[in-house]
Symmetry: C2
Subunit: 690 residues, 2 copies
């Protein structure tokens, strides 16, 4: 690895070919001799149009095809730098066969890195290779010796000072050596000579890949996180009409015991009165209606104000720091929409769509009408000022200690806005995490991730059969999607009580939790509804909860003996203790001869931690089956027995070979999470055997 001044990189920039139909101009002079082609760079999203995503400490392995005309040897480097660094770090590419080359770089700072590739013909290495062939064929090499010597005499200035000195010594030694002597030959063929000459490459004749590629480097929580969503106004199991941030503080121990590290709060702002919704989304509330937290804004303020019933700004910052002391980060909701009472409506009517009758356009998805919500009109001529205001909202909460935002319906605001907002925030606060809450068509969900969202909600809640789960998670982890889209698997949300969860009771909640927490390095639950396996829909066929917290204060008895609290706590502990579960790209499904059993494994990047998960997808019946493990992928030798231990029950099995039996009873635990321990020791592994 070596560093070159950033100013040098200009000569590595993409070069245009000589223009067509014209004489070969002096412009084409250097470009005509750029003999190396560079293609098929990986990782690269959509031909290099969007950044890849990684986290701090990752090693980024870059591969590309590099090749030149003819039979000359080539060399290349991977260049990388953090956008704030002045120097490129260059790492030599290593050939991996069939014109494929590979190198890697580590990302050690948050923010954006750039990487690129340059390749060139290495004349001296070619000379050395050919000389060996000539010698083996006993050819006269008199002239070839002169050529080799000439290459060194005419070498370009080396890149490093050390090479400069070594080259000088080498040139002196060459001039002392007898012409056509064994000594001269030996000197020319030395590895040292090759090394010095490799540093004397004129990169001006190097071809540079036509795009600089980008990596967004996030903190590890961007990839590995466990989210708990709760309505702060429904915290206590008391009769008080509206709970507070103070109440939330006393709930932190419970959340921490379950092992969550993100506490996501729905909007905490003043709620509009006009057209306020009543219980169960009834169009008109009464005087006791608390309203939907997503109908943001009243005469008390908008997106930077706090609902007075929740407490003060101080109470909020106190909650944030109390949570932090328990290892929990508070995430806020960015729901860029307004109640009719939001201060923006009077202050900035130009940010809304005015109807010809002088009223402001409310939210609609015809024929559905949401009179309690005014969408912002991003097509307004005044959008630059609107963008700045929304940026200021984010800044306000950043200034009050928030670095995680769950973004409500980002797919209903223009893509360029998010690209700008997220880019601008992360330029100053690269640790910020934006979770995209878009449940829409795949292209739109993926595009939001490409343009900047750190994590994304997924279709997981609606993927319930074995085939559905395998298809979806293969797409997420084996296609190029994995380079930019970080799934966050939610079992449920205040909007989503899937039909699957409505039937099957406690076992189905346990199975879905185990799936979310092990298929996804990031996952979330909406509680306490989830822990208490709340499963009553507003009406049959609906995914809305009955008596939804979105429209009323709810009371939850989190001490109920059938709560899943302990199970969740155990699963989250297993997640923390097993690095295999901290990332998704190693996910591999293993065949098992029962359509209700799903088996998959994950492993840590160094392969030292391997976890095998089997889930019974049926909440009703005991299912058993024969697994057919891909032992090679698990790093297990086929001819030796190995140990698997269920981290949930501590049951311990010794297996051998790929075929192994499993049985799961949904009424006890519908999942097994095995730690796979490599080959068991045998007699010959002990010292006293010999």
């Amino acid at each position: 690895m070596k560093r070159t001044p950033r100013t040098d990189s200009s000569r590595n920039m993409p070069a245009k070919q000589a223009s067509r139909g014209k004489q070969v101009s002096s412009q084409g002079m250097s470009e005509g001799r750029l003999r190396v082609a560079i293609e098929h760079v990986q990782p690269e999203v959509d031909g290099g149009r969007y950044p890849i995503k990684r986290v701090l400490g990752d090693t980024i392995i870059v591969e590309a095809d590099l090749f030149a005309d003819g039979h000359d040897m080539i060399q290349g480097v991977l260049r990388s730098r953090h956008e704030r660094q002045d120097e490129w770090v260059e790492t030599p590419l290593q050939p991996v066969g069939n014109d494929r080359w590979r190198a890697s770089f580590d990302v050690t700072e948050l923010g954006q890195y750039r990487y690129g590739l340059t390749g060139w013909v290495d004349h001296f290495a070619t000379w050395q290779r050919d000389m060996h062939k000539r010698l083996r064929a006993h050819q006269d090499v008199t002239v070839e010796l002169l050529i080799g010597k000439q290459l060194i005499e005419q070498a370009a200035a080396p890149m490093s000072e050390a090479s400069r000195r070594r080259l000088k010594d080498l040139q002196a030694a060459l001039s002392r050596a007898e012409p056509n002597s064994q000594a001269l030959l030996d000197l020319l063929l030395e590895d040292d000579t090759e090394e010095i000459m490799a540093d004397c490459v004129d990169h001006g004749l190097g071809s540079t890949y036509d795009r600089e590629l980008l990596v967004v480097v996030d903190r590890p929580k961007a990839r590995f996180s466990a989210w708990h969503e709760m309505f702060p106004r429904s915290t206590t199991n008391t009769e008080q009409p509206h709970d507070t941030f103070k109440d939330c503080e006393s709930r932190l121990a419970y959340i921490s015991e379950m092992g969550f590290d993100v506490l996501y709060l729905p909007p905490i702002h003043p709620i509009g009165d006009t057209h306020r919704k009543g219980r169960n989304n009834s169009p008109r509330g009464d005087s006791t209606s608390v309203g939907s937290p997503w109908a943001i804004g009243s005469r008390d303020g908008g997106h930077t104000a706090i609902h007075s019933d929740l407490g003060s700004l101080e109470d909020f910052t106190q909650l944030v720091s109390a949570a932090r002391s328990k290892g929990i980060e508070v995430a806020l909701d960015l729901a860029f929409q307004c109640s009719p009472d939001h201060p923006y409506v009077n202050e900035h009517p130009e940010w809304f769509k005015m109807r010809p009758d002088g009223t402001i356009q409310f939210a609609e998805n015809p024929p559905k009408q949401y009179q309690d919500i005014f969408p912002l009109n991003f097509e307004t001529d005044a959008f630059p000022r609107l963008w700045e205001e929304l940026r200021a909202v984010v800044q306000y909460w950043i200034d009050h200690g928030i670095r995680i935002f769950r973004v409500d319906n980002p797919h209903t605001k223009p893509f360029p806005f998010w690209k700008w907002l997220i880019g601008d925030v992360k330029a100053s606060y690269p640790e910020t995490i934006f979770l995209s809450e878009a449940f829409t068509r795949p292209n739109v969900m993926y595009h939001l991730a490409k343009i900047g969202f750190t994590q994304s909600y997924t279709y997981f809640a609606w993927r319930n059969s074995k085939a559905e789960l395998i298809d979806y998670f293969t797409e997420l982890t084996r296609s190029s999607v994995r380079d930019y889209f970080r799934p966050n698997l939610w079992t449920n949300t205040p909007d989503i009580l899937t039909e699957h969860l409505q039937h099957g009771g406690r076992p189905v909640f346990m199975a879905r939790l185990a799936l979310a927490a092990t298929l996804g390095a990031s996952y979330g639950i909406y509680g306490p509804a989830f822990e208490l396996h709340e499963n009553r829909p507003q009406k049959p066929g609906s995914e809305e909860y009955l008596d939804s917290e979105k429209y009323e204060v709810r009371r939850w008895d989190i001490t109920r003996p059938d709560s899943l609290k302990e199970f969740i706590g155990l699963i989250n502990r297993i997640r923390r203790e097993n690095p295999a579960l901290h990332r998704d790209e190693s996910l591999q499904f293993h065949p098992i001869d029962n359509d209700y059993l799903l088996a998959y494994s994950k492993q840590s990047s160094d392969g030292s931690n391997i976890v095998l998960i089997v889930v019974n997808l049926s909440p009703y019946h005991i299912h058993s089956g024969w697994l057919k493990l891909d032992l090679g992928a698990l790093g297990v030798q086929a001819d030796r027995s190995f140990q698997v231990q269920d981290l949930l029950t501590h049951a311990y099995y010794v297996w051998q070979g790929p075929r192994n039996y499993v049985q799961l009873d949904p009424r006890s635990v519908p999942a097994q999470i095995f730690a796979v321990r490599h080959n068991l020791r045998r007699e010959e592994d002990f010292d006293y055997y010999l």
Copy 2:
């Protein structure tokens, strides 16, 4: 389809996003409202870095994902223009589901076309769609009617003059209609109104795909051609020491009867004396040695001179025009290398690599040495002058009627040179065809095609087993390779007598010919060696011919009764008569339960011509098997019988269903080429049945 002035296209050009970390600048004004994203454009080579290839008359179907935030309706156009046209042709995109859109354009001129995509939100279409929903839900639409009217009143200026008049009429009619009337509603919902409004889109708020993509349009022969290679000096079966262009002329009837449309001649230039090779590549020839035609250049001239023993320039142009009158085009060899006697060596020593002993570097692939060849040094500082000279060589032969060049070893000259040379020639002579004779690593072969070669030699000669053939031709016709790499399948060349051809006699030549001519829309043979199934290698294990024509004058008795002339003529006639065989992208393999039988089909672009080919890959044994046809792909109804007729033997079969029996005897004909005729007529198809 409509035309917009080219100057308008500037506003559709890719726009930069608002810069990060800055205030929303006026620069971001329009871009912030570009709501449509465009992704995954097909066809597109390497993210749009290289052109696709098509031929005159083709319809280019372009697909892309287009989507916007929210639920608004979008529209888009495919723009295309020949590079010499001033106007873009716009074709509306049609949705094909899941955010995918499609449109097509026809290429009616040779040369380069550009294409791109633009998409925008269609507010009026959205209004109409929503109005229908509101009406179905019996909502009050008073205000919505005003909004619809307003959209029309404020419509942007239409693109066309006709729409301008219609919009004016519409606006007048609207102002006459009673407010909140059925008449107003009807007017707003009319299809006509939608059509006018669709033409009033302000493309300034349209997003344009970030690359303009390129199509190189060639003449049909670029895709469909049958090549015959022969050494002009070895034409007659007489005792004269060296045959001439005049002799070639009398050979034209024979080539024409076999049905070839390209006659490729190895280099026709003066041959060097220095280090001239003798028979069977012996290092020193004697006084009778004619030398290798690829050792180009003597005191008589170089790449623009003609070997005096072949005749004069007039004889050559006479041959070219005699061939043309028989439907045969003469292709010349561009072998950019020199014998030591080439005039360039004295005139331009700076184009060669000088060794320290003052000699010129001869060709080498250490330890092999080719003293009769001096390679040109493309790394010379004087390369611009060298490029111009080589361009002048091509121009010289273009001026003498040549439009097809087979390029010798292009992979030993720099890629930028070929990109420039081919681009420059085709800018003025877009009908020119360059065949790349590179037998090297796949990346290099594909790259040469990407940067401009019209056709390419392939690995076909070494793909002989069923699995090899299926793998290779699936790669060539089903991956993105098919958009830029046009295979030309050679059964043999003067350098390549494969071991496969050395054994198995006449049947193996027949099978390989049938494969080449039907797997590839373009193919070639080196004759008369091929017709006469010459199969003696120089030594065991070698692919060189014994007594190779490369180093001596050979005599061939083309009247031999065992010649394949008739068979080749028949195959070429079948090729000409069946449009299915004029292109490769419809190639589909069909399962057959015998590893020696290969079955595949091709069809014409309109599906009216379908050909099914079965080849017995074993030259030794009769093989039979059960075909399992993909009837859907062949357009055959599963429940009706259909007719297949072997175009080689005229044998006629009626088949029904996918499973059908075939049997092939290599000693008679090792291939069957069936014309598949759609469902047979049955009683109910006749008028008198009813």
